[in-house]
Assembly symmetry: C2
Homo-oligomer: 135 residues x 2
């Protein structure tokens, strides 16, 4: 509601519902369809096209971040202004967030060595639990 105005977006019902859905869910990463279904269950039927449009606007406004973990579909996450990378459990699909100052530094250093500066980066670890599954 206020976040929307601050972001320069008119406070419409769909936008408020979507933002609230993102904020109130225990989940942190959502595909457009996740959001759609989530709202659908609450009997807030918002067209999928609107979800896409709104999420894209939220992204431009810096309210959410878009990730492409697997290339087949985008996932969105609220932008809490604390940068972090992701670790995805390839068996369960669970997503763990992490942050490493050292890796960030190394990235800058390596880019600099090539005459570049880092504008953005994407780091995803595909991991497997170390605990052996009981046979």
């Amino acid at each position: 509601m206020q976040g929307l105005r601050k972001a320069g977006l008119k406070a419409t019902l769909p936008r408020m519902k979507i933002l609230e859905a993102l904020q109130s869910s225990k989940q942190k990463h959502f595909s457009a369809e996740d959001v759609y279904k989530m709202l659908f269950k609450k009997n807030e039927e918002i067209g999928l096209a609107t979800i896409y449009r709104v999420l894209t606007q939220f992204e431009s406004a810096g309210l959410v971040m878009r990730h492409n973990f697997d290339g087949s579909h985008a996932v969105f996450e609220l932008n809490d202004d604390s940068h972090h990378d992701h670790m995805i459990d390839i068996d369960s699909g669970a997503v763990v967030e992490f942050y490493s100052e050292k890796i960030e530094e190394l990235q800058k250093k390596i880019a600099a060595e090539h005459g570049y500066e880092v504008a953005d980066h994407s780091l995803v670890l595909y991991v497997r639990s170390k605990k052996k599954k009981p046979k």
Copy 2:
């Protein structure tokens, strides 16, 4: 040709043409359509569906690696068995490869701290040249 047999793939004309195209190009990263057009120019018209099928088989066989730099389409690169990550110049689209032992180590360490082991990872730096563009 021999690489194909070793990979357990029948040496068909389309597969040979595609492999050769990948090997003989100065370019290192190709979308399926890049490969299609490349062959088309050489008057080797291979159906796009076949390109996709073959590249996927090559990936399974370990001959190529698939990347999803931007989420909108996949790119393939010959697998030279030397792991590296990528840096993409957001202005020119140029792709630079790099490798950092330290970053690799840190990734393993961080995963381990969460009870995981790294099965794979994807690191892409989106960079911008440090040289100021003359106004």
